[in-house]
């Protein structure tokens, strides 16, 4: 029996070519064959707002009601656009896009511990290593560009957040820049070297491949070795494709200005993330056909100096996100790209007028928003009580968010699964999630 197991096949696959393309090839050792639903979106840009953004001062407006002062929004809010969506004055540029946003004000998570909740947001599981959302998407849909990985994660914090875990590692995220690194220099490891001119490099690779083919010919039918030969070629092609995408020198001055590339408002917890560059790169990788792009700004963890750090965090992210939405819209990409904004949890509110300037963590009610492919625009889903501390209706757990994102991509979260070590692993975990039907356009 010389047939390959499917796992093996995927293991040697040079890039995440379509999951469905694989199903005809061999056995069923990787159980699930997700029935394809109608796909409303083709790719995802996830704006990871690490640290727990203050939802009451950004999207979930809580004015004072009743006689006694209570916790609520300390930022000013206005109704925006035709939809009349509430958006904080700290986000004037995102506010322009209010009619494109679908705001989920009743998000819930299981824990207010950063690391665990961040892991749950990414993988569905807060304690054990599981495949990242981006890996699932790349696994389910494959990549549209054979010269690039299917899942790219910018300014990452932890490998566990972009890990393929139990999926074949070819679906793992490719990191560009780790947290704290200067993003203008961040790139894919080893993407470039000038020790030899390109022509010689090609000739050198031909020599390597000639040796590899000889080696293979003495070892008949070794799909693993054949896969490596393809992978060498992919790497070689990436050398050309990725640096070109990372190079912003051809972008106009106006564009760089719109995205605030290189502009940083570092203050307190707000880190210099060159978020503008990340947003512009997200657009470029999205145009190039990468399935899942994650960009990160942190930290929104405003335990002290809430007002100062909140202002800095908003100022850092507002214009770049708005520019990204502008460009995606203008290029028609917003029709089939999901833009997802949010962090691992939110924060309790402050009482306006009170001196207190410190906020903690709140995982029982916080905000996400989604824009683009297949979600209702200018829509608010879910609500919280008067001080924003608990959900009143429309609760959306991370699991439900995951189920919904997969659904919009035409993937069934129930069946997009692998069996590993006897456990059936899926993004929505043992409990499973619910597609939030109310927000589907």
């Amino acid at each position: 029996m010389n047939a390959l197991s499917r796992r093996q096949m995927l293991h040697t696959a040079s890039c995440g070519f379509g999951y469905l393309a694989m199903t005809g090839l061999a056995g069923a050792s990787l159980t699930a064959k997700p029935p394809r639903l109608r796909a409303r979106a083709q790719r995802v840009i996830f704006l990871n707002m690490a640290g727990g953004p203050a939802q009451l001062d950004t999207f979930d407006y809580k004015p004072q009601v009743g006689k006694k002062p209570h916790a609520g929004s300390i930022a000013e809010f206005k109704r925006r656009g035709e939809s009349g969506l509430w958006v904080s004055e700290l986000l004037p540029n995102i506010a322009r896009h209010a009619d494109k946003l679908c705001v989920l004000n009743a998000m819930t998570a299981d824990t207010s511990i950063h690391a665990q909740s961040m892991l749950q947001l990414h993988t569905g599981d807060r304690l054990r290593p599981c495949p990242s959302m981006g890996s699932w998407v790349a696994y389910g849909l494959g990549t549209e560009n054979m010269n690039l990985p299917g899942f790219i994660s910018f300014n990452t914090a932890k490998p566990a957040e972009y890990s393929a875990a139990q999926l074949p590692s070819v679906f793992g995220g490719t990191p560009i820049g780790v947290n704290g690194e200067d993003m203008s220099k961040a790139t894919i490891s080893n993407i470039f070297s000038d020790h030899l001119p390109m022509r010689v490099k090609r000739r050198q690779l031909d020599l390597v491949q000639a040796m590899n083919h000889d080696h293979l010919s003495l070892r008949a039918d070794d799909a693993q070795l054949e896969g490596v030969i393809q992978t060498m070629e992919l790497g070689f092609r990436m050398q050309a494709a990725a640096p070109a995408l990372l190079d912003l020198s051809q972008e106009s001055k106006a564009t760089l200005e719109r995205y605030r590339v290189g502009k940083n408002f570092a203050a307190g917890t707000c880190k210099a993330s060159d978020f503008g560059r990340q947003c512009l790169l997200a657009r470029r990788f999205c145009e190039a056909g990468v399935r899942f792009i994650e960009i990160t700004h942190g930290s929104w963890d405003q335990h002290t100096d809430h007002r100062r750090d909140l202002t800095a965090n908003c100022a850092t992210t507002d214009a770049p996100i708005a520019a990204l939405l502008d460009d995606l819209d203008e290029r028609g990409l917003l029709d089939d790209t999901l833009v997802v904004w949010g962090g691992e949890f939110g924060r309790p509110g402050l009482t306006p007028g009170a001196d207190k300037d410190q906020t903690g963590h709140q995982h029982r009610a916080f905000t996400f928003w989604i824009a683009g492919g297949g979600v209702k625009a200018g829509h608010t889903h879910g609500s919280t009580n008067e001080d924003g501390s608990t959900v009143v209706e429309g609760a959306v757990h991370f699991r439900d968010l995951h189920a919904t994102i997969l659904h919009l991509l035409g993937l069934d979260h129930e069946n997009l699964a692998v069996v590993s070590g006897g456990r059936r692993i899926r993004l929505t975990g043992l409990q499973g999630g619910k597609v939030v039907k109310e927000i589907l356009a």
Binding site: S193, L225, G421
Partner: protein
């Protein structure tokens, strides 16, 4: 309680309870009947029956039954208790609940007494001891979770429990499920099966071969032919010492060659590294969730301990005992004492989440310790039971907290955590007596000076001389106490304290010396020949490293969801022999590699049934070491200490600390989230959980590494320079290059191909590099890089 394997006490009550008592062993859900939740570890339930009966009466004897209820009691319940239960509790604690909280039902009288995972929710007549009262009082437990009930309602509950918890509600219909199952294969005692009879009796050369051949013959399969000697030599060398053969001479006697390798100091470097994967070894904490990644400046001592243990063939039972309870073992000399203290580093090396805002911090540290023992030594995912009874394995939550109590009574000494109190509180370290003093290394001085910490570190809480030899590890805590059950894994929601003990599924038992943490007893329980898992799990790990596939394909999981091994008899045969031969790892490896099974020719794909050997890619460390070997650069000496020794710093605030090194990869600086860039492309584990089997997937990032990485380029140039020392004829140099990199002679076609490349590359470079000697180096280096990047170097037949 439910879902456990312990002996259970069942009492079928009927409408009013009749006192019929049953004790049965069962592993599925207990029927919903009146079950006082007594966990019995006793192996002989019958003998303890009278005891159980009396306890039973104590527990429920005061409960008021529907028949005996006064009108006032009924009305009290109906007006004050039932409405609150319905409104506040049923959402999560009734048969209608979408997701039953803590396996607790509050919609039937008997269920309230049975209780959920945390134990009985009420003890009639004893409000202070009743969990339901503690919960509504927000005393340890907090229920309902959203808001505390008003005081008068809380008082109603107290009153109600005091009067015997009269409850007129009908009980739920009984569903009696009996699904007696055979015990899990891995929990049965290890047997000593005889080698089976085979048709082709000429084939087996060792007893283990008979087990393999018998299975193949059952399936009408044949073992493949023996591997060529030269390929076998290469395989043995990589498998045993992680380096290519040191010469290309023929291997005259296989067993002599194996002994040579087993006695090489490189053996411990290779096999120690396998263990470091199990031990999730690293020299920094990793991102704590607040982006802070403090160094572990003394972790390297554990690394050296492990390497030495393998080189000295420390018996495995002793090896694990030292790692779990080395501090509690007697020592004949300061050196031995030091070694045993260092060994306990296993329990302190884990990746911890930040302390800030984390009420579960202490329990998170314990969870990591339980995980490394559960998955690493026992092959059971005990960790799942932190929040719920294990869904598939016989590990009730109680067992988890029985273990947790042992570690709660243990002080974990990770050190200063870079003096960042939000990350972790500072702890002391073991002070070594016989070890020589060490100073911080100079290489990192300029980097650390140039990058002062963003947030000023606290003062060191524990002061040691700057060159004092220290070690991470554990010791018994000042306060020895059992751990209370954490409901849903939350340390704010506490249930009853659980006596310290071991897993009930494999023998169980509780800690007998109540003045100690119980670690020594735990170690003895783990290292006992009666423990059905310890030897099996380790033997399987060794098999996996030698064959690329375990006999059990889930090396960290021997539980219900594991795949039942196709060769259970072989596993037991090896485990029995392993224990009989004093748990000698070297003897185990020797007997396996001298088998005919190990020496078969290879091919790709799955090694199912082991009809052939598996062609495999080298791991990250071996690839790097092999490149250094090819270029003649490898420094074979063991490293002394670590780059990070005696430096309490935050790794995340510093640029890369990795420095060029020509020593073996096992000695590189292993920082979580900042692993050596020379290793990361080749599927390095992240060292946060027990790594059983390294991934060998081919990735585009590996190609980029081979094409562009500075280390590879530097090695290519050194390789070229090495060739320049040999005669100037190109053919001779090419031949030499093949011998160095691939350990074989080049064919005529390969010589010609090399010549063609050198000529063409030279012609391409002539316009940009006019200096002839430099161009010659560039051309040859390009050729050498191709050899280093070839599949033949990275794959072993």
């Amino acid at each position: 309680m439910r879902g456990g394997w312990a002996a259970r006490l069942l009492c079928f009550d009927g409408a009013a309870f009749q006192g019929r008592i049953l004790v049965q062993m069962q592993e599925t859900h207990v029927p919903r009947t009146l079950v006082p939740t007594l966990m019995h570890r006793s192996s002989s339930p019958a003998t303890s029956l009278p005891h159980i009966v009396s306890l039973f009466w104590l527990l429920v004897g005061l409960s008021v039954n529907a028949a005996d209820m006064t009108v006032e009691q009924r009305s009290f319940f109906e007006s004050k208790i039932r409405p609150v239960l319905v409104k506040q509790c049923y959402e999560c604690h009734s048969q209608e609940a979408k997701k039953l909280g803590g396996k607790l039902l509050l919609d039937a009288p008997s269920e309230m007494i049975v209780g959920g995972e945390s134990g009985p929710s009420l003890i009639a007549g004893k409000p202070d001891d009743s969990l339901i009262v503690q919960a509504v009082r927000y005393d340890g437990l907090e229920m309902p979770p959203k808001k505390r009930l008003p005081d008068h309602v809380v008082n109603d509950f107290v009153e109600w429990v005091k009067m015997g918890a009269p409850d007129p509600r009908a009980d739920l219909p009984k569903t009696v499920k009996k699904t007696p199952q055979e015990p899990l294969w891995s929990l049965k005692p290890i047997s000593d099966p005889k080698p089976p009879k085979v048709q082709n009796s000429a084939w087996p050369s060792k007893s283990l071969d008979a087990f393999i051949l018998a299975k193949l013959e059952q399936k009408n399969l044949q073992p493949t032919h023996d591997a060529e000697k030269a390929l076998l030599k290469r395989r043995l060398s990589f498998d045993l010492i992680g380096l290519p053969p040191s010469d290309t001479s023929d291997m005259s006697d296989t067993s002599d060659y194996v002994d040579l390798l087993l006695n090489s100091p490189h053996f411990g470097e290779k096999w120690g590294r396998h263990w470091l994967d199990v031990a999730r070894y690293a020299e920094s904490n990793g991102n704590d969730g607040l982006s802070r990644n403090p160094s572990f400046p003394h972790a390297w001592r554990y690394r050296d301990y492990v390497i030495r243990a393998f080189n000295e063939d420390l018996p495995y039972d002793r090896f694990i005992t030292e790692q779990i309870a080395g501090d509690l073992l007697p020592a004949d000399s300061p050196t031995q004492r030091d070694r045993q203290l260092i060994a306990t580093g296993l329990l302190a090396l884990g990746a911890k989440p930040a302390k800030a805002m984390n009420e579960n911090f202490e329990m998170d540290v314990i969870a990591d310790q339980i995980n490394v023992i559960g998955s690493g030594l026992l092959g059971l995912s005990v960790g799942c039971a932190r929040c719920h009874d294990h869904k598939t394995d016989p590990i009730p939550t109680r067992d988890y907290y029985a273990l947790a109590g042992i570690f709660r009574s243990t002080e974990t000494m990770w050190g200063a955590a870079a003096m960042q109190s939000l990350t972790a509180p500072q702890t002391p370290l073991h002070e070594l007596q016989a070890a020589t003093e060490v100073m911080p290394r100079s290489e990192l001085e300029p980097i650390i000076k140039a990058n002062p910490p963003h947030r000023p570190p606290a003062k060191p809480a524990f002061k040691y001389a700057s060159d004092a030899p220290l070690a991470m590890g554990v010791r018994d805590a000042k306060k020895i106490e059992d751990c209370k059950l954490n409901i849903d894994g939350e340390s704010k929601k506490l249930g009853a304290p659980i006596p310290r003990g071991f897993l009930s599924a494999c023998g169980g038992g509780t800690v007998t010396d109540l003045k100690q943490s119980g670690r020594l007893e735990l170690a003895k329980w783990l290292a006992s020949p009666q423990n059905p898992l310890t030897a099996r799990v380790f033997v399987n790990r060794v098999w996996l490293q030698l064959f690329g596939e375990g006999l059990v394909t889930t090396p960290n999981d021997f539980g219900l969801s594991s795949e039942r091994p196709t060769h259970l008899e072989l596993l037991d045969h090896l485990a029995t022999r392993f224990m009989r031969e004093d748990w000698s790892i070297k003897k185990l490896i020797r007997s396996i590699v001298l088998s005919r099974t190990y020496q078969m020719a290879s091919r790709s794909g799955s090694a199912t049934m082991f009809s052939h050997h598996l062609r495999r890619r080298l791991d990250a460390e071996t690839i790097r070491d092999t490149m250094l070997f090819a270029t003649g650069d490898l420094n074979p000496q063991p490293a002394i200490g670590s780059l990070i020794q005696h430096r309490d710093v935050l790794i995340n605030e510093l640029p890369s600390l990795h420095q060029p090194s020509s020593q073996r990869s096992v000695y590189l600086l292993m920082l979580r989230n900042s692993m050596p860039p020379e290793l990361t492309p080749f599927n390095l584990p992240d060292a946060t959980t027990v790594m059983d089997q390294r991934d060998t997937a081919a990735l585009a990032t590996q190609s980029l590494y081979l094409l562009n990485n500075a280390f590879v380029i530097e090695q290519s140039r050194r390789f070229a320079k090495r060739l320049f020392q040999t005669p100037a004829e190109f053919e001779k140099r090419i031949a030499q290059a093949y011998r160095h990199a691939l350990g074989r002679d080049a064919t005529a076609a390969e010589l010609q191909r090399g010549l063609d490349f050198l000529r063409e590359a030279d012609a391409m470079l002539v316009s940009t590099q006019t200096d002839h000697p430099r161009r010659e180096l560039d051309t040859w280096a390009a050729f050498c890089q191709a050899l280093l990047a070839s599949n033949e170097l990275r794959y072993v037949d």
